[in-house]
Amino acid sequence: MLTAEELTAVRLSLSVALTASLVALPAGIACGYLLARWRFAGKWILEALVNVPLVLPPVATGYLLLVLLGARGPIGSLLWDHFGIRLAFSREAAVIAAVAVSFPLMVRAIRLAFQAVDPRLEMAARGLGAGRTRTFLTVSLPLARRGIIAGWLLCFARSLGEFGATILLAGNIAGETRTIPLAIYSMTQRPGGLEGSWRLVVVAILLACIAMVASGYLERSRADDVAS
């Protein structure tokens, strides 16, 4: 049904989105917890920082990333000089772009979830001898489970749809960085191409459906026994 090119794009998209959402998860959880539970001086700065990619057009985010991570950028040149790593225009760049753009969404969902956890339950755990770490792992984390899954899913879905930052940082290289959105974009830019992109659009919609069903399954609330 799909052409080889389309298939590649789908596979690449999935792998980029999956990698991005998984890579972002630990940081997302850490950030969400920090913002939900701790009070520190520069908290709002961290918050604003995390959220900047949300307000910026993705292209600008991509450009800022390029400035940072590009061969001449402070981080990029460091990586290049010391490790011989070139980030821009690689699959890794696509992942980074996806992470940057979808991270705020993940953090916000996770943060809300942690805020909803009764801090007295955490205190109860500590009273039972669990240190901060064990309390976090056995009480806070599982109780925030739903929000974390939701955050992960948002991140995954947003990564699937990410276009602007990706094309800037990772370019539009078939088989390497040409994810579904980039493929759709490329197609729509050719006369008559728009109509040709419907198959990928359908695939994207299907992916949305699958993700929804999966998340519904993962987040599934245990049956409430109140009548409704």
Binding site: D118, R120, L121, M123, A124, A125, R126, G127, L128, G129, A130, G131, R132, T135, T138, V139, P142, L143, R145, R222
Partner: protein
Amino acid sequence: MSHLEFACQHSRSAEFRLDARFETHHGVTALFGPSGAGKTTVLAIIAGLLKPDAGSVVHDGRVLVRTTERRFLPPEKRRIGMVFQDHLLFPHLTVRKNLSYSRRAAASGRKLAALGEVAAALDIEKLLEQFPRQLSGGERQRVALGRALLSQPDLLLLDEPLSSLDARLRYRILDYVERVVRLWDVPVVFVSHSQAEVRRLAQWVVMLDRGRVVQVGTPEEVLGSSDALALQNSAAPINLLRFEKVRRAGDHCFGQLGSQEVFVPLQGPTVREPLIVQFSPRDVILGRHGLTGVSARNQLSGTIRQIVRTDYGVFAAVDVGQIVWAAVTEDAIRELDLQIGGEAICLVKAHSLEVLG
């Protein structure tokens, strides 16, 4: 022997400020006092769930908090098991996992209890695979108690641990808690509104009111005192007799009340002086002259000082050296011709006397 020193100030709201100081070196200490007196607040500070504004808590020489030194031992280091008034079970864990949540190793040489034993004692064996939201109120309370018992604590704090249990379970669990406390010598501080529970379990009572310690002492002293009465406002006056001198005779003894003696059955091997006994006015039968051939051992003669008619009934105060209140009917007053200033004999069953000490 365990020793707990509490001296903290803490403002919870504009309305309520805790400012309490007490000490206890008893096995079981009861926190007693009306709703909103600050009992839960005290426990929360001991457990480390609340940082007091100022003050210190020292348990067996370990400083748990001392604000002047900015010391605050985190709760997980305190080895304190707590049963919360609203249970605070982990909603995402089964009863079994709630019970076995604490992995704290038993303190040197003692393991308080095993899960199976605790579950059996609390009658929650069938619930082990349930989740907290599938439990009834009383079941939750028992799981919370079990969780605290299983955390191998050096000190147990129980906030109304039996309030939603029926009498049968309550007795059974009281028995069990008593055993745990005795066998392993774990000190307990508990909150209860039941005088019976306090009398049964506690060796020491701290009475709180509006954030202040109003009285400290043995259950007899505190529960029998006028303060306690005022706080309790029980429907009828309570009789308290205080014997400065006690004559021991076999497994019972006689309290000296002026020239009269009061027969007091004793449970323990020792008699403390002064000896205080308590009994209800309803346990007193008034007569006009002495009786023989009755099982009621105590017949105290005295003068009627007062006859009070209340919503709860009619009460006569008889001065037998100390005042004894008797509940009477109007019929009896008429028939026996009870009058203020008249003589009367108070017939009190030895069984009715509760020794507070």
